[in-house]
Symmetry: C2
Subunit: 467 residues, 2 copies
């Protein structure tokens, strides 16, 4: 474990964080009280305005900037003591997932509630809690060091939970504004063992709706069952053609641009904690319960989880879904699907190949509607910025950092890692019990404090970055 001392007095920073914790939780409660559900375009402008106001209270300059068709982006900035000091870009988002199903929440989703040292509420981790934590980080550093030895830029968007559809265009429309030396990502977490987890990539995603329409209106199965084309059957056959039961995606060309993990990636995966048994427990799977019962402990489990392109049916919708039977022959059927992409797959090519596959197999009647997507992203896990994040994490958590070469989930990381070309570090306040996107989303206050401290230590060493 690296024990190089931080350039900042760790105890002083920790005391500064602790001293402002109540006030920070008050800010977080205000953020959580706004139901900024991007999936329903709810309360996004008010939430953006509140984020900007909170930034200003912390001494940042903040502007609520329009996007071309989406909710605004909050851009904040704070100059350090030297104009030519390195600049850190912090990416966050103020939108949240819908709170449903409401009846499973033990306290109101939009009311920050603290029970036994755990904060509950939609967005306490993903991602409002991180906005609060980042602002607290800057305050604590300034309380100890005075003016910061780096410049700060904040980009807080309002559409992360629906695939950031307007972020890319906004970035393209503001060249130079986001110039920086390194990036701190929106969220970070500890492993089940409490070690800091740094991730150096995110899978891409491509979401589609498959729609089939066969006849002008629903028919009666007694009349039409043997003569009229059934949209639900067409959809079932089309879906079954996309992926075989061994989970291999059957779309011609789909794997052509998928890059295999490197030896270094596999080394990093091997060093990650083996949580396969925990995951099996969490989802109540038998011992052989991962896809098709194949052996997926350890390295192969980790490899599959993040370096294997996936195709998920998110939803099916056709005909009668109520109690009992209804002998309807549906005219319409729909499926929602998402592909998770590994480097160097991209959503546009995936969509084109999907269409070609459907046409080739005679499913011209199955429409494929592109909903949204993200390109996959990689960050060099040996970049000095990632190494700094690991070192400072090890100081704070007193455990060796876990470095994941890739996450299974997706986000707009490509824009920061590839378009802006920034190294990315992921300190944060979450833990595996977060329940992001689910009822009872929660963050442990201890993790909130440690994640904030980790971020402060990392930022205090920005000067070590090669420029």
């Amino acid at each position: 474990m690296d024990t190089k001392p931080s350039q900042v007095d760790s105890t002083a920073v920790r005391l500064a964080i602790r001293g402002q914790l109540d006030s920070a939780l008050g800010e977080l409660a205000a953020l959580c009280a706004i139901p900024s559900v991007s999936a329903r375009s709810e309360a996004l402008e008010p939430c953006a305005e509140l984020v900007a106001a909170q930034m200003r209270e912390h001494g940042l300059q903040a502007e609520v900037m329009p996007t071309a068709g989406g909710p605004p982006i909050v851009f904040g900035s704070l100059a350090g003591r030297q104009p030519d000091a390195p600049t850190i870009l912090l990416y966050n988002h103020y939108d949240v997932q819908p709170p449903e199903p409401l009846d499973l929440w033990e306290s109101p989703p939009f009311e920050l509630t603290i029970r036994s040292g755990v904060a509950f509420g939609r967005g306490v981790g993903d991602d409002k809690g991180h906005i609060t934590s980042r602002l607290l980080t800057l305050d604590a550093l300034r309380a100890v060091t005075g003016e910061l030895p780096f410049n700060v830029k904040f980009l807080v968007e309002g559409e992360e939970e629906i695939g950031s559809p307007h972020l890319g265009d906004w970035i393209l429309a503001h060249p130079g504004l986001l110039a920086a030396d390194a990036c701190i990502w929106e969220e970070g977490m500890v492993t089940p063992e409490g070690a800091p987890l740094l991730y150096c990539g995110m899978r891409g995603i491509a979401c589609f709706e498959l729609r089939c329409h066969t006849i002008s209106h629903d028919a009666h199965s007694g009349f039409g069952g043997s003569i009229l084309p059934n949209a639900a059957w067409r959809l079932a056959w089309a879906l079954a053609s996309l992926k075989s039961q061994d989970e291999r995606i059957a779309i011609f060309g789909h794997y052509d641009t998928a890059v295999l993990p490197t030896i270094r990636d596999l080394q990093l995966l091997s060093a990650l904690p083996n949580d396969a048994a925990e995951v099996r427990n969490r989802y109540v799977l038998p011992d052989s319960g991962f896809l098709g019962g194949r052996q997926t402990d350890g390295l192969e489990y980790h490899r599959r989880a993040v370096f294997e392109p996936s195709l998920t049916i998110n939803g099916l919708d056709a005909g009668w879904q109520g109690p009992g039977s209804k002998t309807v022959l549906p005219a319409d059927a729909r499926a929602k699907i998402d592909f998770r992409l590994v480097p160097d797959q991209d959503p546009a090519t995936v969509g084109r190949l999907l269409r070609e596959h459907l046409d080739r197999l005679g499913f011209e009647d199955v429409e494929s509607v592109y909903l949204n997507g993200q390109r996959p992203a990689r960050v060099d896990p040996d970049h000095p910025w990632v190494r700094l994040a690991a070192e400072t994490g090890e100081q704070v958590y007193q455990q060796q950092a876990a470095i994941a070469p890739m996450l299974g989930s997706s986000g707009p990381m490509w824009w920061f890692a590839h378009h802006l070309g920034l190294p990315i570090a992921t300190p944060g306040i979450e833990y595996p019990g977060l329940r992001a996107h689910s009822p009872n989303e929660n963050v442990r206050l201890d993790d909130f404090e440690l994640g904030t401290l980790h971020c402060a230590h990392l930022l205090s060493r920005v000067g070590e970055l090669p420029r």
Copy 2:
């Protein structure tokens, strides 16, 4: 065309029907005002009571009799002038299909509304209108002939629209009560050309729900897409294994008990009007638009429609069905399916073979829940009772009767044709534009009058039945 005169004064009967038409429509309005939706167990007892009350007003004895777990059965009877005269059993039902979608109704579904000689409302044809028509038939006959030359039994159940789950047990529990010489079926119709249509069989049906449950709760596709089993995928693969894209049911043994149509059946099918083009128009299909574009005009169209076992997906339900995308990996997925059965298939065997198929292909995780079913039924199309129905229909409609050896749809006909061993005739008041089970269900008043007259003429010749 047979022109043997009816044994009753046709003009007098017609005048008697016409004279009581307004009063009959008033009774029908009262029946339609009760939303007796069996799928929701709504208002069934009150509707049964009203049917019994109306029977009594028409001079019948009527009893509301309990079933073992379902809504009551109304049993009515009327003795003719001679106790040893033939007995006719009339089968009808007082329940209706749900009215949804409500916004497509042009007048309230449970409010009988007459526009331009057409009566609209849920149940005006299927089957409350037939109850009213049958009672009007008996009145008109008595107005002309005095006491009836036959005995009448009425069985009116409340679960036809959900597969008559308690009818069979009730029949078994009342041996002798339904002893009769012939049966008049619940509903009948004219062809698009206005000829009386008699049908001599109904396909059976077996309805199932397929349920798949893979993990304890929904997962996030970014986390689980490559490692966790997805219920929607399992269901899609299981469904696709049940029927190939050429519409051949792939379940081992499914066709083993399916009897081919006889030469006589094919003769009768050949004589039916060729409505393939009309059906294509109604469902906005291209010229090659029947299943897979195969040539299905004329005889082959009719043969497929009624003598081909079918398997229909009635509904699909899994995961996210709302707007946009949601990257959920569903723990649960469900499909509703129905098999239409031809003689001598039966629901129990179909269910056993379905289970065996799923197990054989490794879909032990897909549960198959039997919802309800009916056995297929045949009536000899050359039975004197059917011939009488054709002759009297030709007198009334002045067109040659169409005799369908089988209907594509299903009903509890097996109990009457096979268990009770009765010949069955199907005079009735419907036309192809009925919209049964759909918004704006409607009956033309002219058809109501002619169907009632046809039934009266048929009954007036009961004496010609061999005993």
